[in-house]
């Protein structure tokens, strides 16, 4: 009996060890993925940086990789991304924060039960459907209102991006507001403050880091969004600061040009350099959001 017990325990140990190794291997995939993204973006953009000046790449105002006299200035693409994301953020932040405050502090539980699924569905709608709406419906509304030269333009992209940013902003920010202890609100109300005064002077300051992180995360989403932007902004590769011009943001340039380029050509490498730039920008944005959130969680722990 004793021998039998010992043997089964040994078998159990072996199983335990195998399981641990297997699970570890699965976890490793995620870490490996990040390494692969780095290696392949760097590796494929290296040939470009060897034969082209980094400064000319970052400050050049002409993006024409397929021309007979190619020019690899990333500024038109970068400007397109900045223009579209910035205007989208300016629209999405007030609406999103307002909606969050209403959802977390004011709404009746029954209203909440409707509003929360609405926001989840809004987050789940695929970007190509937003792009469809922007290209076919929103663009006509803008044309009627502002009479732009280009039917598809940066404003169109910014408006549809703002709709896509709101659900992320609201879901992250709402979590932060819910984390504010009820006792803080009660103390403020007991001292005679109105509900709005309590929200403005107590709840919002207490959850401000979370709200900031929500804003940063949603901007990251806007910068990385591809399909809606391609379909909405018209994809002209010009350097412009006008919101009513057609632009081609970084993501759109990648999605349109990579399938056209031949693997191993200078165009192909230049597009990976652009991809690397996009990756660095979004990674930095995400790290900032993580940092803010981590600091904030410590404060309430």
């Amino acid at each position: 009996m004793a021998v039998k017990l010992k043997r089964s325990k040994k078998a159990g140990n072996a199983e335990e060890g195998t399981a641990k190794v297997l699970l570890f291997a699965c976890a490793l995939v995620s870490l490996l993925t990040l390494g692969l993204v780095f290696i392949f973006l760097l590796g494929n953009s290296l040939p470009f940086f060897q034969s082209n000046d980094l400064w000319a790449f970052l400050t050049g105002k002409v993006w024409q990789p397929f021309s007979d006299y190619p020019s690899y200035g990333v500024l038109p693409l970068l400007m397109g991304t900045i223009l579209v994301s910035l205007v989208a953020a300016l629209i999405a932040i007030p609406i999103g924060v307002g909606c969050t405050v209403y959802l977390s502090e004011i709404a009746h539980p029954r209203v909440k039960q409707v509003l929360k699924p609405v926001i989840e569905v809004l987050a789940g709608v695929p970007s190509v459907v937003y792009g469809l709406f922007a290209a076919l419906v929103l663009s006509n509304w803008i044309a009627d209102l502002f009479h732009p030269l280009a039917r598809l333009n940066a404003l169109n992209g910014a408006l549809i991006l703002s709709v896509m940013m709101i659900p992320i902003l609201v879901s992250v920010a709402e979590e932060a507001m819910n984390a504010v202890p009820g006792s803080l609100r009660e103390a403020s109300l007991a001292l005679g403050a109105t509900r709005w005064e309590t929200i403005r002077r107590v709840v919002i300051p207490a959850s401000l880091p979370g709200i900031m992180a929500a804003i940063v995360l949603s901007v990251g989403r806007a910068v990385g969004e591809t399909m809606a932007v391609i379909m909405a902004t018209g994809s002209a590769t010009q350097f412009t600061t006008s919101i009513l011009d057609s632009v081609r943001p970084i993501t759109a340039a990648l999605a349109i040009d990579v399938p056209e380029s031949v693997a191993g050509s200078m165009q192909y490498y230049s597009l990976f350099a652009v991809g690397l730039l996009l990756f660095v920008i979004t990674f930095a944005i995400n790290l900032i959001a993580d940092y803010v959130l981590a600091r904030y969680k410590e404060a309430y722990a």
Partner: protein
């Protein structure tokens, strides 16, 4: 009195913000449903897209895009779900709240924020050319798998951490090993949460378009006959229809395909919500 008035004013403004958000959803979905529902027919679901006399694929149905999208979801289910779930189990159960685990989760969170087009670039460079899969269903499926991996891991983590530690302690106290505890207690109790995350990840994969553009979606592909064939996909078909010159024929097809895609995705989301609610009733700690 003035303070009360101000409060009413601000509250109405905030209510307006929320109403605006609801309105956005209603308007966007409304346009798709109203314009798409007229095109729904048996032919739409039984025929592949066919070219008109100018060569634009605006005739026929959307069978091959639907099948392509379902195949992509199947690949994600087979590749990403087991890896993501088991990987998250390892990080939570074996490394817990250690410094390395926290750093690892930081990486996973950041992977979730990597733009989908960057995954497309990895797909092209690593799968299509370096591993020589070519522009193919398997390259696209694996790219999407990498894309949803962090989503699955985060969802699994949340589901596992919702299981009270007393369950784990009771099992270990009775002599079960760590792996036995995971297999017989932690995973069953967190399964509905994991399933919810899985469904959401699959719906995300179904709607992704940008990585497909780079990894092998093709205008005139029919139902793929193997893992290494090119394929069609529903979101790509929608994109294509908005880019076609023959707008009068293409736009109704775009709306119809968008309606089908939304029905698939919203349907899956509703199932996920229902699962979450039912599991809340089932287990009360």
């Amino acid at each position: 009195m003035n303070r009360k008035l101000k409060e009413r004013l601000v509250f109405n403004l905030l209510r307006g913000c929320a109403a605006l958000v609801v309105l956005m959803l209603v308007v966007i979905l409304g346009y798709v449903v109203v314009n798409g529902v007229g095109k729904l027919s048996v032919d739409l679901f039984t025929q592949d897209p066919a070219p008109n006399r100018h060569g634009a694929m605006v005739l026929g149905g959307i069978l091959s895009p639907i099948v392509g999208t379902l195949l992509l979801m199947l690949l994600v289910l087979v590749i990403a779900i087991p890896v993501g779930v088991l990987g998250a189990v390892f990080l939570v159960e074996y490394w817990g709240n250690s410094r390395w685990a926290r750093l690892w989760w930081l990486v996973v969170n950041n992977l979730a924020g990597v733009p989908s087009i960057v995954w497309g670039l990895l797909g092209v460079a690593l799968l299509v050319y370096y591993l020589n899969f070519g522009l193919s269903l398997i390259a696209a499926g694996m790219t999407l798998s990498l894309l949803v991996l962090p989503i699955i891991m985060v969802a699994t983590r949340e589901a596992i951490e919702a299981v009270p530690p007393s369950i784990y302690e009771a099992s270990v106290a009775l002599g079960a090993t760590k792996f036995q505890t995971i297999r017989h207690h932690i995973l069953p109790y967190s399964s509905s949460g994991i399933l919810t995350g899985t469904i959401l990840a699959l719906s995300r994969a179904a709607g992704e378009t940008a990585p497909l553009l780079l990894t092998g979606v093709a205008v005139n592909a029919s139902i793929p006959d193997g893992l290494f064939s090119k394929f069609q996909a529903l979101p790509y078909y929608i994109y294509l229809m908005t880019q076609t010159a023959d707008r009068s024929a293409a736009i109704p097809m775009a709306y119809a395909a968008a309606l089908v895609l939304i029905l698939i995705i919203v349907g899956m989301n509703l199932v996920a919500v229902a699962l979450r609610n039912s599991s809340r009733k089932k287990y009360r700690w």
